[in-house]
């Protein structure tokens, strides 16, 4: 009896190894993604469903994606994740392949704001779709529900003298210029004219009077919140930051400003050197399933493009981050603002 079980076991293991070897021999789909975008259980399910093996490589920064894709002229990966601000650079360098939406049945069931991809700035060029929105988060406003009443709707609350010395702002010129431009009602916060730039600068110098400190990391903001009288936090880290604060018992809530909140949006993209475009499109479609997208939000706290999440209500106005007109100029002006008395 025991011997039989043992033999069966050995046979099973042998069969397993054989299967693994065969799936490795067939060309696997090569995926480059951020941690959390291709969890092991999803990969396993995808392979079980489609019979396509998957090799995932995780990356840690935008520069790293560029280095890997540009370095091999798109030959080393089939499908990868990149944000809207970055995507145009890849299109210009001819490193990506247009995607056939008819191969993505799940795309029709995405949330309204993502359904018509031509309306998502940065994802298309010359009528061709290059990026499929997958994961996003807004950069909104965290407010202390005990101290800020009634609930704010606009970032202009940051300038309210009632909260002097109780505002935590983020130490980054680029984003601060963009959100202030939105608050001032400018249409394109990423391309400011010289006049607009000067107006935004003056407005930010004014903001300084209300600010307790500028933070850089989420846990830094959290520590300052705990040891000081903070009412409002400009939330560069969005939902992650809200959840961390709620976990330590802070009475905080989150809004996306009515003038439009800045938000980053990651997309699935197919590389120029894709070996099996069909397989790559199957992967993207699988990622857009309710199950995977829902799980993504549950696990990471980021918003997904299929199921409603706390990153943004269906009526919230989001402005996808884009490259700014002159990063060096913004950084210089930001130093001037910080040095201003």
């Amino acid at each position: 009896m025991l011997l039989k079980r043992l033999l069966l076991g050995i046979a099973g293991v042998g069969l397993g190894i054989g299967l693994m070897a065969s799936s490795a021999l067939a060309a696997n789909l090569r995926v480059l993604a951020w941690d959390g975008y291709a969890d092991a259980d999803w990969v396993k399910e995808f392979t079980a469903e489609t019979g396509i093996g998957v090799d995932v490589v995780f990356i840690g920064s935008d520069d790293e994606i560029w280095a890997k894709i540009k370095g091999s002229e798109g030959q080393d990966f089939d499908v990868f994740a990149v944000n809207t601000a970055q995507l145009q650079r890849y299109i210009k360098a001819d490193l990506v392949t247009p995607i056939d939406l008819s191969k993505l049945p799940n795309q029709k069931d995405t949330l309204p704001r993502f359904r018509d991809i031509t309306k998502v700035s940065g994802d298309t060029k010359d009528g061709k779709v290059y990026g499929i929105p997958f994961c996003f988060d807004s950069i909104g406003l965290i407010y202390d529900t005990d101290k800020v009443k009634p609930a704010p709707t606009s970032m202009s609350v940051l300038w309210d003298p009632a909260y002097k010395g109780k505002v935590l702002a983020y130490d980054n010129g680029e984003h601060n210029f963009s959100f202030t431009a939105l608050t001032l009602g400018y249409k394109d916060p990423f391309n400011l004219s010289a006049e607009q730039m000067a107006a935004v600068k003056a407005k930010l110098v004014e903001l300084k009077g209300n600010v307790l400190s500028f933070y850089t990391t989420a846990d830094e903001a959290q520590q300052i919140y705990q040891n000081n009288d903070v009412a409002l936090i400009w939330a560069n880290y969005g939902q992650q930051q809200v959840k961390a604060l709620q976990k330590i018992g802070a009475h905080v809530a989150y809004i996306n400003q009515s003038e439009g909140a800045l938000a980053w949006l990651d997309n699935w993209v197919i590389s120029k050197g894709v070996r099996d475009k069909d397989a790559a499109e199957k992967w993207i479609d699988f990622m857009l399933s309710k199950k995977v997208s829902g799980a993504l939000s549950e696990r990471t706290g980021f918003g997904n493009t299929v199921v409603e999440s706390s990153s943004a209500g269906s009526n919230d106005k989001l402005v996808w981050l884009n490259n700014v007109e002159d990063p060096t100029k913004r950084s210089d002006l930001w130093n001037e603002i910080k040095a201003a008395p």
Partner: protein, 290 residues
Amino acid sequence: MKSAGLARPVAIRWSPLVTALAFALPVVFVLVPLAIFLVYSFFSVDQGQIVYVPTLANYLRFFTDPVFLPVFWRTIVLCLSVAVISILLAYPTAYFLTTLRGRWRYALLMLLMVPLLMSYVIKIYAIRSILGLNGFLNKALVGLGILAEPSTLFVFNMNAILLTLTLLLIPFAILPIFLALERIPQVLLRASDDLGASSLQTFLRITLPLSMPGVASAASFVFVLAIGDFLTPQMVGGISGFTFGRILYSQFGTAYNWPFGAALSVALAVVVIVAILLGERFGRNRGASL
């Protein structure tokens, strides 16, 4: 005899190599990087790309732009204050240590050096939770009835940087002063006593002048370490505590303007070199007269 005779040619054969290495290491790892830095400060940036054409624009900008010089001077004053306060606190401490006998002296000295074993960032975080508006310091002062309500005097401003840097750097002031004090020959003090000097006279005429080299090196140590720091101002400086280190740091991170950052570093390096030279000059002068 024979073996010594054999060893010598080997030593001679190897010694030029050792000499070359001794010179090459500092050249390769110190001088060359510094030279590259200096060269970079004469380049410029256009649309995020470094332009390798020599220009004086970076230095011109440093001297003419109304942003940089005020922050530069303010930072120097801040770091001088840190050095002065550190010495005022470290001198009595070091003096007290030298009055101790035997193993207590070194045990206590080691205890004062223990904070140096701790991560810098952790120390800043700890200090920040002490200084906050609801931090330990304010809570204690309010609890003891000294303050009616929490004070913002040490919350995210220049004072906070001053206090934090002093706290972080004080071990670097204690050590050289302690060593200078310890080197003073006891016979001099006893002779002074025998000749009828009061202990205050002995301290002012003998101990203090002879310990000045230690004070000078302590001051230059603390000043140099303080002026190179950007993390402390970043983390406790808030909106008013904007220092030169923070500007410099931003040139490498968000601005991608390495040439200008290099030029700013050169300006800082000049100050640091002057501080070190001054420290050494005063340190050696007094020491030589011993």
